[in-house]
Amino acid sequence: MLSRITALAVLAMRAAVRSRVFVSTMVALCVMIVWVPLNVRGDGTAAGQARILIHYTLALALVVAGTGAVWTSCSAVSQEIESGEIRLVAVKPVRAFEVWAGKWLGLMALNSLLLLLTAAVLCVFLFFLTRSSWGGDGPSTVRERVLTPRRMYEPVSDAVTEEAFLDEFTRLREEGEIQPGVTPESVREPIMQRIMARRAAVGPGESKHWTINVPAGAMAWAGERRKSFIGFRVASASWAGRVHGEWKVSSPAADGEWTVPATDYADGYHMIDLPGSLLPDGGAVVVTYLNGSRDESDAAVFSGKPPVALLVPSGAFAASLARTLAGMLSLLAVLTALGLCAGTIFSFPVAAFASFSMVLIFLLGRYQGASSEPLPPDVGFMMAFAEGVGLRMARVVNMVGGPVFRAVTIAQLADGLAVPVSRAVLSVLFLAGLYPTALGAAASLILSRRELGERGK
């Protein structure tokens, strides 16, 4: 069986390499991964350039390779059926799933090659970036901020309790902001958002604490050259565009405290260096922000998710890059499987249309599921029914597509965050294992039932 699958895989590779789509994909990819780093300018710093380089190169490679994968896989089976070539294979002792697996493996080998090429070019550019005197921060910042992956530890959950929600609801009703007769459920979402917004703001002269639990063994990769950071996204509530404040990080377990003097922070994302000896290898860390502004309207808003995070070195960049590539390859695996499945059922143009439509539905379904709000009770039955069906479909699409979106960790890698092994493993299991197996089983069943003697039927 392996011999047959290998033979079919090699054949699929050779057929794909000869196709114009693959050649176009290769050319587009080469142009993208070379042109983009040379022409895109970031914020003027070497670290910013490295982030953009990683993000754009990998994201464009994923889009180009993904489009090529769907297109090539759609034609792999459908055009063989249309040309009749598959007949000579079908009369040989080859099972339908072997045909499918051979094609999938062959195309996946090509996808791997494309991603490896991208990764190689990216590494070459990053290598030169860490050895150039870019901007004012230099190569060491690139190594420290981007090429040292860090694991993110979030503060203890600050979720809004039911009690806090009801208190707020009662207060708003007493103040007349909520009309009598309005139920708590109908205004839950805006009230929750209001509470969260209030919690995110730190007024002038006020301070806010976040407690972050650091698990044992988390500091294994930390050291003098591999620093930990406090990362936060802040915005000013006034027109100033800057906030003024002091940070204090203390660790009761390590009996240490670190204070960052009052500084101006522009709206955006910031990272504060922490001394390696401050953080305990297991235990709580308390992070405090004191708003030093005197202007009453100058509140600092920590709206990030999470608002503040402890970033601890974890693993090597190469490992995180490999996991990101594994996630990307897993995504290509499911796209290839989708294209092959569609190509088994439909002719090439229909298969390509169906596959790209599916991808679009998943992309849109994600936003539909995330943004839909309940309809007011006075809409008609048909409208409510259609909305209900749409929402349920969006939920199904989100459930199925969830692992697909979680597989893409390019942004984390570019932001200097470690890509966890578990995430890469889950991506591989779901997207390169479970989903292609399900699609392959369906396609094999159809292929074995299909009358291949009729050309292009």
Partner: protein
Amino acid sequence: MEPAVKTRGLTKVFADFWCRPRVRAVSGLDLDIVRGEVFGLLGPNGSGKSTTIKLLLGLLHPSAGSVEVLSRRPDDVATKKLIGYLPEESYLYRYLTARETLDFYGRLFDIGARQRAERTEQLLEMVGLAQAADRPVGEFSKGMARRIGLAQALINDPALLVLDEPTSGLDPIGCRQIKDLIVALAKRGKTILLCSHLLADVEDVCDRIAILYNGRLRAQGRVKDLLRESARVRITLPSEAAGPEEKLEEEMRRRFGPEVEVGHPVIELESFFLDVVQKAREGHEPDSGVGHEAGVPEYLRETAAGPYVPRGGGGEC
């Protein structure tokens, strides 16, 4: 003995998109092809020959009736291990060379690398494509594509060989070679199903034939029985013994009546053509493209160990 191919009431109706019956290509076909015989399937265009073959190979599913090939269902993998198929058109991968083509199909039968290489070389020699072994099949002429198609049909040493228009596109030498090969394979106990428009080809090699028309079986039997004119007798004599032609004819008419015909027998055009080419070749180099064909490969000439247990890789699948 269990027939190699057995169909009962085999019917194939092609339907349109809405599943409405469109064409009845094969209708109630009862066919028995005995193991070890060369069976010819004849009929005009659209008579259902190719559809019947596709049904026997599992490429189409019957609308009604039953099919058994080598005592199994045609879409059974175990059945496919024992079948070689030369389709009417070349469905070969155009970008593979002749050698790669044979190697690829050999791998689908799980034939070991060494045996595959040996068979590939032998088959390339047999079909006269050794010189063109490393050229892509897409560059081949129709005749050359036919030859490589035949070679791939034999890579697994099949027990049942299905040949759809095997001599189509071949020159007379190629036609002769195919017919010789069919005869040689038949002597080895292989079952051959031959589908052709060229009645002379069928007549030369087939033991039995069936004639289809409009999807129905119109005639079936041994070629000799079907073609024999029982009401007439032919006598051949050496010219010297017969004497002058006019005198012999007069003598015979006087004895047997006015319907007697006397004349010289003529050889077939194919034999005459081959004779001329053979004489020309004795003094010249072969032309480009198809070279000299070798005989039947060694592995196809071996005596069968059992009626339907293929040797080598074909049986090891």
